[in-house]
Symmetry: C2
Subunit: 193 residues, 2 copies
């Protein structure tokens, strides 16, 4: 059975990404050895370097996929609700819950900033979750639900708060308590009716 090169390439690439995701999530970037990832994916290190320019390159691709997936989950959770405010809350809750996912926890929250450098990490974050948050805050401000203000710094603050909270939960913090605390923070932003 003749397999087209494009197909084979896609299959191999996917296998590397999948195995990379597993190992990066389970062991953390530094403890992962690229040759092992390749072997578990059924190829050799040469294949990995054919598809990605470096170990960090594979990691970057994995990060992008995880980011994207998380962004979609959060957006989907938000859209289940009616009203800008409830959508924001639902998105935040979804994000906090996602912190229990080892892939999100170890890859996105712990390793990504160091491995990719903070600038590149932020750029990736911007494309997925951060952008949604900014949009949501803008809409809330436009609707008069929160005070009119520059939303970028506020989004950074909330993003950082939720990152930390997600890690805290993943490490054993009480999810309900974190949710309530975040709710209080958000509620404090509302303009008095």
């Amino acid at each position: 059975m003749a397999v087209s090169r494009a197909e084979q390439r896609a299959v191999t690439r996917r296998a590397l990404l999948d195995e990379g995701l597993r190992r990066f999530a389970a062991d953390g970037y530094h403890r992962v050895v690229l040759a092992e990832v390749a072997r578990a994916a059924g190829v050799t290190k040469g294949a990995a370097y054919h598809h990605f320019d470096s170990k960090a390159g594979l990691f970057r691709a994995v990060v992008a996929e995880v980011q994207e997936g998380l962004g979609e989950r959060v957006a989907a959770a938000a859209e289940l609700h009616e009203g800008l405010w409830e959508q924001l809350r639902a998105g935040c809750r979804c994000f906090l819950a996602a912190g229990t996912d080892p892939a999100v926890r170890q890859i996105l929250l712990v390793d990504a900033p160091t491995v990719l450098g903070w600038d590149e990490w932020r750029a990736l974050d911007e494309e997925s979750s951060a952008r949604h948050l900014v949009e949501a805050l803008k809409a809330l401000a436009a609707a008069g639900i929160i005070a009119d203000q520059p939303v970028e710094p506020l989004a950074r603050l909330l993003s950082g708060a939720m990152n930390e909270a997600a890690l805290w939960i993943a490490r054993g913090g009480d999810p309900g308590a974190a949710e309530q605390a975040l709710d209080r923070l958000l509620a404090g932003l509302r303009t008095p009716a």
Copy 2:
């Protein structure tokens, strides 16, 4: 001139810590090579391993010192003000400003969580800045200035928010805007007079 061993030991250790601080702050943990640190400190790699059990061990010691210094600066900034609320604000502002310090930025905020692992990093953070924040929040709650609530999750949220904001400022974000946004968040916590 005969130099006592204890003196010599202290001098060498200090030189390693100082040079390590410089390099870790400037280049980031991974790009720092231990032998170079030792050479710049006037000794060899052997000396470094005589004083610290590993590269990460030296980094850990540097982190502890930076943490301690930062905690003291924040506490000092807070104590210049009267009233629990103004002290909290002053401490937060000081922390945000500290993010421009490359040592704080790269070592504490970017590398420490990955290199030391999140658990150990948090333990170190707890001893210095985080504990102060928790104390401040407890005092505010006891005084009725903010609502009575579990302060730990709230402290984590605020800590994460400020970490992120500090990085954002260091990378070029507007310090004033970040300060204002943080002020709004904090203000939202106050119980209506």
